[in-house]
Symmetry: C2
């Protein structure tokens, strides 16, 4: 479990990375935006890297929770994917800072532990969508002449790029609307 202060450090760290990039994520900047001294940070995390590790662990947990929720229903495959899409966009609109961190694998490239965690998160989402697609193909909701891994790649790849563009363009278009449009395209393409 995380203490309140730890949660705050994680949140502010994500915001810092989003606004200033990984190079702006310094203990000094972090302490400043929180309003405590630099050494106080070390009362809550042993090393700077531990903060990044915790960020990725939180993302992984969030992903696992979404996987559970999407599969714990008797929705059709398309409805499950719709749920995942909607849920993800909801999170991104509420906390846009997450985008810059979760879709920026290169940030974690230095550290082998961090890189491994990123790959794990990728695989988890890929496998979850593959599973959903497979069930949809069995139920004839999704056409069966295309393999599940390609479809999962297309689903995730386009959502990622859409969200990233929204962020790069200072969130100056309606992500919900564009997301719905993309989802509709998927429905047309895959039935």
């Amino acid at each position: 479990m995380q203490t309140e202060r730890q949660t705050q450090i994680i949140e502010k760290s994500i915001e810092l990375i989003a606004t200033l990039g990984i190079q702006g994520f310094t203990i000094k900047n972090l302490a400043k935006v929180i309003g405590i001294s630099e050494p106080a940070i070390y009362r809550h995390f042993d090393h700077k890297t531990d903060i990044l590790i915790t960020i990725l662990d939180n993302f992984k947990e969030m992903g696992e929770f979404m996987t559970l929720m999407s599969n714990n229903s008797d929705d059709t495959a398309i409805e499950k994917i719709e749920f995942l899409f909607t849920k993800m966009m909801e999170i991104f609109i509420e906390q846009p800072a997450i985008i810059s961190v979760i879709f920026s694998e290169e940030i974690f490239k230095n550290d082998e532990i961090l890189k491994e965690k990123i790959v794990e998160i990728h695989n988890m989402h890929q496998l979850n969508i593959e599973m959903i697609v497979e069930s949809g193909q069995l139920n004839k909701d999704i056409r069966s002449d295309i393999d599940k891994s390609s479809l999962a790649l297309i689903f995730m790849g386009s959502l990622r790029l859409l969200v990233k563009r929204w962020d790069l363009n200072n969130q100056n278009f309606d992500l919900n609307k564009e997301g719905a449009k993309l989802l509709n395209t998927f429905k047309l393409l895959t039935n």
Copy 2:
């Protein structure tokens, strides 16, 4: 025009970012891998940021050249997209280090000039693919019930994710084969 030394500095910078991340891209590291002293770097670039600007300018030029080539033929739309895909994968296989830089927009987040260049490159590729899709829809090579911007998003988004995964997984699968598979999926989905 770039001098030989400038080209070398650019190449080694990209490699540094690819292997160590943006945090490993220091003048000290750069000087070391090139085999000259740190101040010598400043004989060829005024500031560290100028190196990053030049990297992005090169990427943009490369994109413009590919756009020209893809449109300077009487290929069908699908063939043009196939050309773009093949060409890009060729470049990535030859110089995998590029992947970590060109698909890592967050690296350039600090600097407004750099961020703007990234958005420009995005828009250029999006518009080019949209144009190709539009011509394909006019010729009935591509189904017309889906708008070109969605299809362009899907094309680019999935290719990006495929290439990034290949890189994240230490290039341990056949990118050409997976790329061909993805292209085939597009053909099935869009005809």
